[in-house]
Amino acid sequence: MKYLKNIAQLKLDSDKCTGCGMCVEVCPHAVFIIDNKKAIITDRDLCMECGACQLNCPFNALDVRKGVGCASAVIKGKLTGSEPSCGCSATSNCC
């Protein structure tokens, strides 16, 4: 299953990439493959912006707009004027 077309904000800087494969290791949707010692984005529409690749890239080659794809978080964020964050805590219901 894929989500909306051309919407995920994921950038890969090939100059910085060393082909270490950490992005392949952590991505839950197989967005990356390593080809000729460089990571390649196979299908951006598969990206859910979880941010795992960016956080685990030792060479800062990845840039993701990290966030939760959660409607109640987005609505809550808009209502309170804060960053969309899932309200999961010991006292409130979420995910």
Binding site: K5, N56, G69, A71
Partner: protein
Amino acid sequence: MGNCSCQNKKPDIVNKSNAVKVSTELSIMDITGRWKARWNIGRMNFKVKPGLYKTGEPDPGSEVFISSNYKMSFDILRKNLTGIDAWIIVLDTAGINVWCAAGKGTFGTDELVRMIDKTSIKDHIDHKRIIVPQLGAPGISAHEVKKQSGLNVAYGPVKASDIKKFLKNNLKTTDKMKKVTFTFSERLILTPTEFVLSLKYSPLFLILLFLIDIIIGGNGLEVFYKDIFIYFGALFSGTVLFPVLLPVLPFRSFALKGWILGMIYIITTNLIVFNSIQGNYIHMLTAPILVSFLSYNFTGSSTFTSLSGVEKELKLSLPLYGLSILSGVAVLLINFF
């Protein structure tokens, strides 16, 4: 063999360790607790105490697994460690599962490094490996953990049921183990929680409906009952039918998929239950909107939606929701006067 002696290098601390031994079999209490959590009963208080645990009789060569303190996550991990002697470090994620907590950062590098220190796990083992579930990666920076604690993060499989294969495969995940799925049964199991959560605003809604139908509209109870029927049918459609039918509904937007499901719901209900295609105009306008909104809300429970996408959907659907509700009110007023 030279490295055999390592097995006895740290027997003292291992023997004296305050690691809590846990069973790899789930008790009736564990299972009923999980069932209750699925129905949203005490789900936010289904926790284990953060700290060091063990399954079987681990020694310094045993693997170290990292988990969250949502009891369902911890239970699923230990259940899949049957016959394996292992250490488990439970992080404090405020009772939230690994993936959601990683998204928030509570299952994160800082908490992991803190617990590595607090549990003195490095005194328990003679290697430098810890196994972090791959879904923890949005909160964990493997190279940062290495820098701060000296331990190497090996990302384990998405599903705990693959742990034995992962161990056999020399701590390497296969492509299949890395991939998050959203199968029929994975969607179905979410529906009780979705449905129960959607009931939260029902008392308020029913009071509102009573006011509009009986007090302001001056209708008989029959109209009120019909509205209640349509309302709960819409809740069921949005929270149970939508997750189940997700892949077969057209378009990619959840709100749009849900609106289409809502139209199908109201038209079939009108035909079968009330014997007319268009039925009540207000139902035709409002029921699909309610189903659409509940479906949109399901993005939070799905495994593949992005923040940018969810924001875009809101921008596109809010004006349509508003317009439909206004039209509904307009029809109501026209009928009234």
